[in-house]
């Protein structure tokens, strides 16, 4: 199934887009999404492997389930304020 991952800030500028799309096998977890992102973008594999993901506006643990209808976002902060 297809998962869309919203991205922001410097990452969105670097990737020249507002979301990344990955395919994962159902049933999928947050860990699977991280792994798919890492596999799809090898130069940034380490970053994507450990990047924090939010599901439906809340940070999710690696074991949390993800469905194609969920709003998934990659939240890497470098110091806001």
């Amino acid at each position: 199934m297809t998962i869309r991952v919203l991205i922001f800030g410097a990452l969105a500028r670097e990737m020249s887009c507002k979301e990344l799309v990955v395919d994962v096998c159902a049933p999928a977890t947050v860990r699977d999404v991280n792994a798919s992102l890492a596999a799809k973008f090898p130069p940034k594999a380490g970053f994507f492997q450990s990047a924090r993901l939010a599901v439906n506006h809340a940070f999710a643990t690696p074991d949390a389930p993800v469905q194609t209808t969920d709003e998934v976002a990659l939240i890497e902060l470098v110091g806001g304020g």
């Binding site: 800030g9 940070f59 939240i75 304020g81």
Partner: protein, 130 residues
């Protein structure tokens, strides 16, 4: 106990928003601490004209509200008001304000430091120098 969170476009006004709290709570306030973050003319050594803030809504508002409630209980505060800009804020203008009402000073200062550290780590707002 009261929390108010407000994300609004452009620079913050010079007047802070006030969280409503009961008259009895107001009588217990012995310390008010207000922190304002101002856009500096230099960002990491580079001259800038403004910062542009991107908030991921509604997660940004939700997580600021949760953070404020958590800090309020943990430090036994009376009220917290959080204001954050989105969009462009020119140098010299305010992009963030955190106001804490507390019975005593020590809790208010500790709460302020912890709030801002956790906000920078967990609240989905990004800034870009322009």
């Amino acid at each position: 106990m009261s929390v108010l969170v407000h994300i609004s476009p452009g620079p913050l006004s010079s007047e802070r928003l006030l969280a409503s709290h009961s008259a009895s709570a107001a009588h217990a306030v012995g310390a008010t601490v207000v922190f304002e973050g101002i856009v500096r003319a230099n960002e990491q050594g580079r001259a800038i004209r403004a910062l542009s803030y991107e908030a991921y809504e509604p997660m940004a508002t939700n997580s600021l509200t949760q953070l404020a409630n958590d800090i309020l209980s943990k430090h036994a505060l009376i009220a917290i008001t959080v204001e954050h800009s989105r969009g462009e804020v020119a140098t010299g203008q305010r992009s963030f304000r955190l106001a804490i009402d507390s019975a005593h000073r020590k809790e208010a200062l500790a709460a302020m430091d912890e709030f801002i550290d956790r906000m920078k780590r967990d609240v989905p707002i990004w800034k870009t120098a322009i």
